[in-house]
Symmetry: C4
Subunit: 264 residues, 4 copies
C-alpha cells in the first residue's frame, strides 16, 4: 500500500484551516487535537494508513483489531468569523525518513483538495526543565506575514535560540506546505520533554492560543479529566510500540548458541 | 522481485476460509498449520517469495538449496458443513515494515481471487509464565459479529488487557483484511513467550478450537511426535536466520585496524 | 517526493562547469562553495529537496522554518577565459545509500540539461594529524587527461596511498558523471578530519587551486571572517542533525517498564 | 539508478555456463574467479552498478575514481568439450536485503539473454578451524540430477550438517535461478571463515574442482603469487568499506555536547 487515504465522506468545506496533532514530545499536539475533536463534536471523514508505520495492529478492549492510522475530522464553522477546520490526529508517525516525507505529502495533497491553504501544527517544545504552571507557547512560521498575524496572541518566537529543528509531521507539513505556497504555523507548548509523560498543562496553553487564533470558544474545564482518559490510551500505544520494536529487534539479534556457520 | 506469488495449480474453491500459520512466538501458528496440512493431506498450489526476506538460501539435507518462502495449500471440504480451506504456511516473515505490509496485501489480493472472505490467523500469546497443562486460547476479531460467532468455542477475549498488539502477518492480515470488508479472527495460544521454544501444547489448544470452528475432525495424537520433527527444522531455520543476521552485521561493523582514512 | 528539483529561473549558460560543496569532513567543500557564492554574487536558480534527508525542518532566527535542501547557483563568466559556473551547495546529504545515488543522478541529469560536461567536487581529506599552516590540496580524477590538465596547479595526486575512497556526493558525482562521459575532478583539502571542526585554512587552499583552474579572481581576505559566520550556522545544523537522530532512535529504543507483551 | 547493467560488447555465446565469484568468506570465490579471468585472458563485456552498494567511489593508484561495480567477462571455449563461460566478478555486494534480491535477478535476466542455463557460484565455507593443507570442496545444488553430474569430482555434499544457509549472491543466484528452471551449483572451499583473511589454498581447491567440471586446463602455479597481488587490492577495498561504514555511522551517532533540543 505504501500510504493510502480512505475517504468516508466528502464534506464541502469553505477555505478550511488544518490543525495537526500527532504523537510527539509530551503528546502535547495529540492531546490538544483530541480534546478539540471531543468538544466540538468534529466528524471523522477520512483515514490514512501507511506501510511506513510499525507492522502491527492494536487490540482494543472490545477485542477488535485496528491498523495504526491517522484520522481526518472536520468542523463546520457555525458562527460568523469561525472558519471550517480539518483536524488531523492519529496514533503513529512514520518509522523511516522516506515515509515521513511521503505521508506529509499525501496529507497536503488531500487537504488541498478541500481548498485548505493554511496549516497549524501542534507540538511540544522540550526544555529539559520541570514543568511550569503556565507553559509558554512557542511559534515557528512559514513566512513573516504569519508572525505579524499572530501578534498579540502571546506566542513566543524565540524558537531558533531554544531548539533549531522541528522533527516529523509538525515540521514537515509546514515546510512542505510552504513549497506549495501554503501558510503554516507550528505552535509548541513548553514541556519538560520526556516523551513518556503526557503534559496536559502544555496542551492547555497551546489550545488557548489556537482558540484565539481560530475564534473558537471551547470549555477547557474537562481537559484534565479527558487527558487522564486519553493518557491511558496514548501511553499504552506508546509503550506497545516501544515493546514491539524491542521484541522485533530481540528476535532478530538474539545470539545463537549452536555451532552453525554460514557461507559467503 | 519485491514480492511475487507463483501459482502451481488453480483449484476451484468454494467460499474458502484462509488459515495462516507463519513463524512467531512459540511457533504456535507454524506448528498448528503444519500439522493441519499433514493430517488433511492438503495440496500445495502456490509459493510466495519476497525481496523483504533475509537474502540467503537454505541448504536441505539432500544438498538442495531453497529460497525462503511462504506456501499456500488447499483442502477441499468433503463432508457437508466442512468448508474449503486455504492454508498459508512458511519459513519467514519480512525483515522491514514496508515488506510486512506489502506481503500481507499480496496475500490478501491472492486469496480474494479464490473467493476467500474470511481469515483465521494462528499465533502465540506470550505470558512470560511457565507453560500450563491446558493453555488457553485467546481471540481478537475484525468485528463484533465474529465474537458472537465464536461464542461457545472456549475463546478468551481478554486480549487487550494482556497484550495490546499483534505483530506481523497474524495481525496485519486481519487488520488489512478488515479494510477490504473481510472477516478476520486471530487465535492465539497461551505460551511462555520465549521465541526459541516451540510449544506443541499451545498449538494443540489452538488446533482444537480451530477444528471446532471449521467442523474439521483431525486426530491430534501424532502431534507431539510430528512437532519433534518439525521443531528440529523450525529451530534450525530460526537459528540460521539469527546467525546470518549476526554475521552480516559483524561483517559490516567489524572495526578496521589499519590507518586508512576517508574523505567527506 | 523522493528527490525533486524546483527551478526558480532557467539561465542560459555557456558550457558551464559545476562546482560542488556539500557538508563533509572539516566542512571544507561547504565553506569553499559558500565563500565562492558570496564573493561572486552568484544567483540561486534551483533547489533540491529529498525524502532521503533527515525528516525535519530547520527553524531560522527569524522564526521561519525551512526544509533541508541543496541549492544551485550560477555565475556568468564576464571576462574572456572565465567560464560560466554552476555552484551546488546545501545543508544535507542523504541518510541512506539508495538516496545517495538517486540524488547524485538527479543532480547530474539537471546540470546536463544546462550543457554541463565538467564537474569539480570540493571536500576535505582527513589525515588525523593536527592542521598545518599550508594544507595541501589532493586530487582525484575521472580520467588521465584531467590529471594532465591540472598539471602545474599544485595538486597532489597521491590520494590512493592516503585514503582509498571518496564518500558521498563528492565521490558519486565524479563516479556517476564518468559513466555519462562527463569530466570530473575531486579537490580535497588536507584537514585534521574531525567532522565537527570547520577548517577555513583547508578551504582556502582548495579555493586557491580552484580559482587558478577556473580563471577566477576572488579576494580571499574576508574568508576567515565569513567562515566564522558560516561556522555557527553549519555547526548548528550538524549538531541538530546529530541530536535529532539521537532523539529519534532514543524514542524508539527506550526500554518499556510495564508488563505488556506482544503476540507473534 | 537502482541496479543497471551497461553492456560494452554483445558476444555470441554458445550455451554458456556462468561462474560467479564475488567478495565473501575468505574471498574464496573472488580469488578463484579473478585467477580464472587472468589465466584464460577472459574478455570484459559488461558492468553492473547499483544504488544498493556503499555510496562511495574507490580511488585507484593512478588517481582515477571508480564506482563500486560487478563485472561480466566471457571465455570462448576453443577446444572440443570446453564450453563458453561467463564469469561474474566484482568488488561489492548489496548493503540491504531488497538490493540483494534485485541485483541477483538483474544478473539472471542478463545472462539468460546470452542463453545461459547453468550457474556455478563459488564461495567459502567457514569451519571456524585452522586452515588445512588440502581444503575440502563442499557443494549444494538446485536439483538432484546435478549431484549425480558432480559425482567423481570430489565434492562433499554434507553442507546441510555443517552450515544451513548460503548468504548473498552465491546462494540467491542458485535459488532464484532454480525458480526459472536454471541449473545451479554452489561450490564452497573449506576455510577458517574469518572474513578478513584471504585464503588462496581454499580457492585453489575450488578451482581444481571447477576445472574438472568445465574441462578447463589452467596452470595453477602462479596462483599464490597472483593471490598476493589480489589480496592487497581486495583487503584494501574490504578495509575501506568497513572504515567507511564506521565513519558514516559515527558521523550520525556521535553524541552532541551542546544544549540544543528538538520538538516533537
Amino acid at each position: 500500500m505504501e500510504t493510502k487515504i480512505t475517504t468516508l465522506e466528502r464534506p464541502k468545506l469553505n477555505n478550511p484551516v488544518m490543525v495537526e496533532g500527532l504523537p510527539g514530545i509530551g503528546n502535547v499536539g495529540r492531546v490538544a487535537a483530541g480534546y478539540l475533536i471531543d468538544q466540538t463534536k468534529a466528524v471523522k471523514f477520512a483515514e490514512l494508513h501507511s506501510s511506513h508505520f510499525l507492522p502491527f495492529v492494536l487490540v482494543h478492549d472490545n477485542s477488535e483489531v485496528a491498523l495504526l492510522k491517522n484520522e481526518f475530522y472536520y468542523i463546520k464553522g457555525k458562527k460568523k468569523g469561525v472558519r471550517d477546520i480539518i483536524i488531523l490526529i492519529g496514533d503513529a508517525q512514520s518509522l523511516d525518513q522516506v515515509g515521513h516525507y511521503e505521508i506529509a505529502e499525501k496529507i497536503l495533497d488531500f487537504v488541498e483538495g478541500f481548498g485548505c491553504k493554511e496549516i497549524y501544527t501542534l507540538g511540544g517544545l522540550g526544555t529539559g526543565q520541570l514543568e511550569t504552571q503556565k507553559p509558554k507557547v512557542f511559534g515557528a512560521v512559514s513566512s513573516q506575514k504569519l508572525k505579524k498575524k499572530l501578534d498579540g496572541y502571546g506566542v513566543d518566537f524565540s524558537v531558533a535560540s531554544k531548539v533549531g529543528t522541528i522533527v516529523g509531521a509538525s515540521g514537515l507539513l509546514v515546510g512542505l506546505g510552504k513549497l506549495r505556497g501554503m501558510d503554516g504555523v507550528c505552535l509548541m507548548g513548553e514541556t519538560a520533554g520526556f516523551p513518556i509523560v503526557t503534559d496536559p498543562k502544555s496542551a492547555e496553553s497551546v489550545l488557548k492560543v489556537l482558540m484565539k487564533i481560530l475564534g473558537l470558544n471551547i470549555d477547557l474545564e474537562a481537559l484534565d479529566e479527558r487527558v487522564k482518559e486519553m493518557e491511558t490510551f496514548i501511553n499504552k500505544i506508546e509503550s506497545l510500540q516501544r515493546k514491539a520494536v524491542e521484541e522485533m529487534s530481540k528476535g532478530i539479534q538474539k545470539e545463537g548458541k549452536d555451532d552453525l556457520r554460514y557461507i559467503g
